[in-house]
């Protein structure tokens, strides 16, 4: 059984038909990436999975359980964590408070929260140095680290990352992606949405290519990287 399975999912924003029948499977332990241009429906797919928008048609299963009618705040408890696009850290909370917020679903289990925080600090030592600092004063890269760290605080089985490379210098992108691999090696399944197709395919095991709300191509990362169309459209080769 796949960890996450989307079957023919259709999502609308009002009258706009944003997802036109998306089917995706993510197996446990994988890194799967969704690549595609602006407006292809990548972010919408993640928002649909985490319950922020409801699919009109189709089914979403997580560990065999139907997610369609589970409210967003309960989906976190099932083991899905979403680091939204544009980081969305709380600028007036300190780094530590931001992380604690990620552990909201753990309730008052202080030991578990402490353990998770230590784990995040091991992944991102920079955050530990700045634990008392307001998140709004962090650099873009540090805010991205914080957003990922916060998403990890709930001990998710599936971590969904939306454009972690957005607005970061190439060197930082490499560092962040290296950490994503490390998180995956610790046993967290990852669904990664990226415009930076090259970096994403280098990291991922498998990938899906989205175009205007449809999946036009899928396969292992290797296959996609060698695919003529992908090379032309997303990797910038002629």
């Amino acid at each position: 059984m796949a960890l996450l399975e989307l079957q023919n999912v259709h999502t609308y924003y009002g009258y706009v038909h944003a997802l036109k029948g998306i089917s995706i499977t993510v197996e446990e332990g994988e890194i799967v990436t969704l690549i595609g241009a602006n407006g292809a429906g990548k972010t919408t797919t993640l928002r649909t999975i985490s319950g922020l928008i409801r699919p009109k048609e189709g089914k979403i299963f997580f560990e065999g359980k139907l997610l369609n009618n589970v409210p967003a705040h309960k989906i976190v408890y099932m083991g899905i964590s979403h680091a939204p696009e544009g980081r969305k850290v709380f600028p007036t909370l300190t780094v530590e408070e931001n992380l604690n917020m990620g552990a909201y679903s753990l309730g008052n289990d202080k030991e578990a929260i402490e353990a998770n925080r230590e784990r995040v600090f091991r992944l991102f030592p920079r955050l530990k140095e700045r634990r008392k600092q307001l998140a709004g004063t962090l650099s873009g890269g540090e805010q991205q680290m914080l957003a990922i760290g916060r998403a990890l605080m709930s001990r998710p089985k599936l971590l969904m990352l939306d454009e972690p490379s957005l607005g970061l210098a190439p060197m930082l992108v490499r560092a962040i992606f290296e950490t994503i691999r490390e998180i995956n090696e610790q046993g967290v399944t990852i669904l990664l949405v990226e415009q930076n197709a090259r970096a994403a395919l280098k990291l991922a095991h498998r990938g899906y290519v989205l175009e205007t709300g449809r999946i036009v191509l899928s396969g292992t990362a290797q296959e996609l990287m060698e695919d003529e169309r992908v090379r032309k459209a997303y990797l910038g080769e002629r």
Partner: protein
């Protein structure tokens, strides 16, 4: 002098709390005036109302301009139960709180998906509906425009609270309980959830916070506290009427929170002083002017020709004092406009709120600075 100042600055916050408490306890002996003790009682009731609205507006960030409705539900619950069924005032207090909370849950549930100003408009609506409901005397229980009279004074262990002085300590007691409760609430798990929801609802939802429930709890707890204030108010005046629970008073509560400093407990006190005590002080303006002139008379009297100026000053201050009810709204309106322009975060803001409001403009020069590299 320097050493003294730094000593003051390094004093533990708790010492200030203790000093303030001692001052509050000794206040009636300083002032020795039933009138000003009564003003202090009014201050206390409004401070409790301000703190209760602060849960909804300050902590959860929901604009609410109908808070008088919850106050009214609390006051009328107490009045009806007490005058009809003879239930003692202090027993009515928790009942008022619960009824107000249930009422808040019932009306807030369908409107919580609204945001900002839209929510605000709907809350104005339900505030007015409640007032008109009371006004129209349904089933003959609210007494219509005359309201309900003959409400008992609170009494316990054979003591009856019926003098301004005893009310002063009665209200002070509940104000202290409210303060402790607010302090604890602000730093609780629920309090943190409110901060997250206020700052970013979507992010809060994806972190596992049931935003609807959390916002409803803000309404329920805020309303329960307003219900308690309603109980205190009803027993203080023994008469209640629908006009007390008007839109204007909802606005005053909102102003207390926003002028003082949204989300900030000391700010609520500053706001209550500004909205409730200051008008009373202005009423005393002729007395103050007289005292001031009395001080000047000795040195200036020798120069002669002072009498005319003195008369003029007395006349001005008297006419200001006489016309305060007329000018009040204008002054408040102007003060609100000035505040929104120059100090949108309030007079004594919560640091987090100040940051939320000032973030962009404070961040802007910083980014210009780094762009120069």
């Amino acid at each position: 002098m320097e050493a003294w100042l730094s000593y003051l600055r390094n004093l533990d916050k708790r010492i200030w709390y203790v000093l303030l408490l001692l001052f509050a306890l000794a206040f009636p002996w300083f002032i020795q005036s039933n009138y000003w003790i009564s003003v202090a009682v009014v201050f206390g009731i409004w401070a409790i109302l301000g703190l209760s609205l602060n849960i909804i507006v300050g902590y959860a960030g929901l604009f609410q301009l109908g808070h008088a409705a919850f106050w009214a539900v609390g006051a009328y619950t107490t009045a009806i139960l007490n005058t009809r069924y003879g239930i003692p005032i202090l027993v009515c207090m928790p009942i008022s709180a619960v009824i107000a909370a249930i009422f808040a849950i019932l009306i807030s549930r369908p409107i919580l998906h609204l945001r900002g100003d839209y929510l605000c408009i709907v809350t104005i609506g339900f505030g007015e509906i409640v007032r008109l409901f009371l006004f129209n005397d349904p089933f003959g229980i609210t007494g219509g425009i005359n309201g309900i009279r003959g409400i008992d004074r609170p009494s316990f262990f054979g003591i009856t609270i019926n003098t301004p002085l005893s009310y002063y300590y009665y209200v002070l007691f509940f104000l202290l309980i409210t303060l402790v409760a607010m302090q604890r609430l602000e730093n609780s798990r629920l309090g943190r959830a409110w901060t997250y929801v206020r700052e970013d609802e979507t992010a809060a939802e994806t972190m596992g916070i049931d935003t609807v429930r959390v916002k409803m709890l803000a309404f329920a707890i805020g309303a329960a506290w307003a219900g308690v204030a309603g109980n205190i108010y009803a027993s203080r005046y023994t008469v209640i009427a629908p006009e007390t629970f008007s839109f204007w008073n909802s606005v005053v509560m909102f102003c207390i929170v926003v002028l003082g400093g949204t989300g900030s407990i000391p700010g609520i006190f500053v706001g209550t002083i500004g909205m409730v005590v200051l008008p009373e002080l202005l009423r005393e303006l002729p007395l103050l002017t007289q005292a001031f002139l009395g001080l000047l008379r000795a040195p200036l009297g020798a120069l002669g020709g002072f009498g005319a100026v003195e008369q003029k000053l007395m006349m001005i201050s008297k006419s200001i004092a006489d016309n305060i009810p007329m000018w009040r709204m204008l002054i408040f309106g102007a003060a609100m406009v000035a505040m929104m322009i120059f100090r949108p975060e309030g007079l004594w803001p919560h640091w987090r709120y100040r940051l939320e409001l000032r973030r962009e403009e404070e961040a802007a020069p910083a980014s210009v600075g780094t762009a120069g590299h």
